[in-house]
Point group: C2
Amino acid sequence: MSEKDKLGLDKLPSLFYIPSSVVHKFLDTPTSIDIVKKAFCDYAIGQSHMPPKMYLDLPQFNGDFRAMPAYIENGYAGMKWVNSHNNSRSALPSVMALFLLNDPKTGQPLAIIEASSLTNIRTGASGGLAAAYLSKPGASRLSLIGAGNQAFFQAKAIICASNLTHISIFDLDVNVATSLKEKLKFLFSGKVTIETSIQHSVESADIIVTTTPSRSPLIKKEWVMPGTHINAIGADAEGKQELDPELLRSSIIVVDDFEQASHSGEINVPISNKIISKSNIRGTLGEILTNNQQGRINSSEITIFDSTGLAVQDLESASHVFLEVKKTIEETGCIPEGVSLLPF
Amino acid sequence: MSEKDKLGLDKLPSLFYIPSSVVHKFLDTPTSIDIVKKAFCDYAIGQSHMPPKMYLDLPQFNGDFRAMPAYIENGYAGMKWVNSHNNSRSALPSVMALFLLNDPKTGQPLAIIEASSLTNIRTGASGGLAAAYLSKPGASRLSLIGAGNQAFFQAKAIICASNLTHISIFDLDVNVATSLKEKLKFLFSGKVTIETSIQHSVESADIIVTTTPSRSPLIKKEWVMPGTHINAIGADAEGKQELDPELLRSSIIVVDDFEQASHSGEINVPISNKIISKSNIRGTLGEILTNNQQGRINSSEITIFDSTGLAVQDLESASHVFLEVKKTIEETGCIPEGVSLLPF
């Protein structure tokens, strides 16, 4: 009798609950960058599939829920259910998520994964990946516009994927900026400064990351130096935008997915206002990673990565965590600490 | 310090897992009929909301997944993730589901509920409700066409909501029919017979329930006696149908939701073939329950309830189970047996 049999895991159906602590254990930043890269490539070559995100809008609570299903060929199927609320007045995070992982052949649920951390990590990783592939050679100065939770994960991944010497932080709330500075000290040996002017922060950057909930442009075209790369992360729903539309019109725009970006990404407002069109989009990050599209051509272009977050990123991340849990069980005969086996 | 405080449930965030055994405990058939009635009424009067079901189709595995989000005003938000596969060659059920229940004000996940049983029970309950409101006075003979899992739940609810004296069972597999007969013995004191002819089964019925996966009509118009009521349950995806389109054209059709029924219910094929149109639909069951539409007018009409299953039925059922769990905790200071408190 194998250790696996002893645990009764061959007796169907069984269902794992995988909490945040285990997600963090198996999804560190370098691993997540690799997984997100694979997710973009698989999607670009048609190995993974996702219907458009579905929104349940609750404007009366300044929030919404999103259902994000996906399927990977020769892999798993699953769905993330995630909210986006303005919870700044409560102790709760703005984004909370669960991921449901299934066997695509039978539909059987295999795992429920805490996906707030998974979302934070994979969104950061895609920013790290975009910065690595789209920023100019020698880019060393990162400016964070907005210093909330996702700014930390962006910085963590860009530190990992680039050669930074300096990080500057701008936030309307200086306490939030200070708190991020403290957290970055533990993982970055370069200089970290707090900026009180967006313009100055933008002017001195090689790489800019915007993670604000803004609905009107914060960053003016004339502030952005030639050769800058921007990760536009904050806009993730209709009506949201952080960048001057004229900046978008004159830059190389790379999206994670054209459909999603044009409905809910940084480009959604200027596209609906007809300031830019599909022809202004260079391509998807997946097309660039698979060499089906050219990214930055020279050191003076301004590049913008418009990130909305793809269900296939969540699915590949969740699949990795689940497979690591299974591997641990097979190797040790024990369920990893924190993981629960649920009756189903 | 209250018992609730002792359990630490006031400390956020906490998340319950509610398994099948607890769903069955708090969602017996009479309760479920009441809840489903409330769900249809709330939806009819605009108190609850649901975007259309979203499908992740996996034709290579003869299956699909469906995301079914919903929100009730002054209640909860949530989403069911459910598959439909042909699992007849494996030990797994065809339909497996999880329900995620959230606080709509903050987005916080509150409970994960095993929803395969919840789906079976609420689908049965809506059939019981439709039979109670649409069958002719004195209807006493039920014919089940298809004897799988859902036929049992339909019969259970119709026994509860009507005055049956006789149940006949038809299934292509006589072992499946026999097995259902054995199960019904425990909850029905009337006569239960197995039929080997669909025609004979249909001709002798006051109430017919079809629960097959058929893609071509099984029941001919000329077999159906005046005054019969039919619950058309099996068709739940594009291309599925169980009834002669001519029967649909000449009957009183009641749907659970027009949009869903016309895309995936019994009426989907005849509507896309233009054999019937929206004008052939009398209304929704919710409209009839709230007296905004007339149901059966006389004892000779044939009525058909086209059931596709609504996200609001799942949400109201899940909300009830969650509130019962909370009530038990408040009253006893203990988490009900089987329920897990998960780290989130």
